[in-house]
Symmetry: C2
Subunit: 398 residues, 2 copies
Amino acid sequence: MIPVNADRFLADLHHLRSIGAAGVGKGVVRPAYTEADIEARKWLAEQMRAAGLTPHFDPVGNLFGLTEGPSLLMGSHSDSQPEGGWLDGALGVIAALEVARASREAGGPPISVVSFEDEEGRFGVTTGSAIWSGNLALDKADTLSDHGGLTFAEARTAFADLAGDFVDPSRFTGFVEMHIEQGPTLDTSGEQIGVVTDIVGIRDMRITMEGQQNHAGTTPIHLRKDAFQALSAFSTAINDRFRNVVTPSTVWTIGHVSLHPNASSIVPGKVTFSMQWRDGEIDRLGRMEQIIRDTAEEIAKARGMTLSYGPMLGLDPVKMDETLRAALSKGAETVAPGNWRNMPSGALHDATNVSKLMPVAMLFVPSINGISHDFAEDTAEVDLVAGLKVLAHAAAQQ
Amino acid sequence: MIPVNADRFLADLHHLRSIGAAGVGKGVVRPAYTEADIEARKWLAEQMRAAGLTPHFDPVGNLFGLTEGPSLLMGSHSDSQPEGGWLDGALGVIAALEVARASREAGGPPISVVSFEDEEGRFGVTTGSAIWSGNLALDKADTLSDHGGLTFAEARTAFADLAGDFVDPSRFTGFVEMHIEQGPTLDTSGEQIGVVTDIVGIRDMRITMEGQQNHAGTTPIHLRKDAFQALSAFSTAINDRFRNVVTPSTVWTIGHVSLHPNASSIVPGKVTFSMQWRDGEIDRLGRMEQIIRDTAEEIAKARGMTLSYGPMLGLDPVKMDETLRAALSKGAETVAPGNWRNMPSGALHDATNVSKLMPVAMLFVPSINGISHDFAEDTAEVDLVAGLKVLAHAAAQQ
């Protein structure tokens, strides 16, 4: 095993937290391309150099710490949500730094480090790794803008004076990302480590149903074409019809609802809502889509309403590489015997994009109360160190 | 019968429409206290004077055309919605003017006329008649403001130079209001006249359910406290439980929904929605309220959510006066034999407030396609004239 230094790892993690510290608990405010994010990346680049790695910024701010010759790549992202936790992606970056540094000191295998930019999607979705992997073209990304109207092209000029070319992915033999779980599974079961089997696929679309806006006093119930009632009937029906199709880890969410005109005395004539569903099996995602479309059409027809769909966002599930995953499992069994599990990742990660370029694997540590993307996000120190050691075990097997 | 002049009535109705004409179909834009509303009221005052009535503005802009001595009061309101139809309340004001004028010419019974101010609720709900009837205190009304922040106290200065005292309601023997139906019942049945049996009561409240906001990828379905799912379950349950309680003319509406944080990738943690219900029987309104509260509590409890209620708006149902209603029914049977019906009013009207002061009754004429509060609002001319004649018949019986 690579002799990682837990104290040095924790000290670096707390130093990174201090850059953009929110002043509320351990929270951080370090969205992509903000001053805090830029300062954090410059500090990370120094730590990489001090560890004997060559820091390299690409044109969008992805920061690599490179060894000479082929290497295993480890890391995650150091940008945060507008109100973020201190661990999130930062944990995976600092853990990778410590493993690479300790391996170098001990004459172990070559490990390179990465902090991808804008994983939290100020502009796109996992923007930096999406561009690097070719999932998102740079010229298309440049036209995206944040909620304030700033374009990606403008934002990424923050790194213009530091930026070199995109890194050739063929220099890496694989990618391992450590991350907090961001859900309640490990915290509930009391286990220390999750070895990810696959990152679930996502389907997300907007559905619009249009009926007839009317006076809520003078329009009898049987003559209404009420958009809220249609939405409610749709949700009830799919909950029922999904039962024969889903597994306990399948999820679906109606998270956004926009009623028109949204007034208490008017029968709502129109609703637009989000329908998102996630699963590890591409076939199941397709069967769920069919149920959604059939049910929406049935309900719209029965109620005399028109139905339309926005564009569907689709990200296919990604299976973790068997060799890298076996190395993580072996490490988990050494560090936390009988106290770890295989599990899917319900959240998207940079590893989804990187899987287009090379073998990938991921490991999770628990999130206390399942909380993330919140100032209250935290993980017990003993679990952070356990995760670091599993990562070091897996690296040593390369 | 009082010999009303249909041509003069229609000419006045079209003249009133020209004041604030929207330029779209027959639509008008004449909200309370706007220039168009003030101009319309000054024109109405002239017509009243020409008809031998004494025009009188009260402190909030309610315009009366008074006879000497006791009289039956007829009328409605001449303000419109921000995008209104040409008939709405204007029809009842001009019909009352024609009946009063024709009765005076023919030596018939004394009829006074009224156009209440702000029935459409720029500031309150049926504001002008609510103040006159004592349902809304003037000093409280003065603190209300419109969407632009203008207070009622400021708005009503528009009539300061014209305003006299409030009119003593004891000079009137009763109130009869003619109005368009604003719903599809008469248009669907092909009948010309609706004689109103009662104005339904309204209950309206905001309900808030708060669960737990969470990541839509990492939070298993069985661990969620999803506010949208709670709302949908609530709506489904009350639709079912109301079946044994309601009549075909009972209505209930969830017209406003506000989800938080309302994002497709986040399990919604909180929902605030409007629950409004209307019925002619006060007991039924109460039974429905009990079902609503019981169901909301059951669902909140079963899902581990907190439940809270905003203040409840309550307006009790108003029965029409039997004598005045009989006079309208007799008129309807004379003018449109076998082609009229008794029906409740699902909408609120000034008559609701006036019922606190004196006996009231109402009659409806059809709304084409049930449309109102819209530039497309209209009624066939033959039905407008039929309504005028029924009003004249009822007035002649006093």
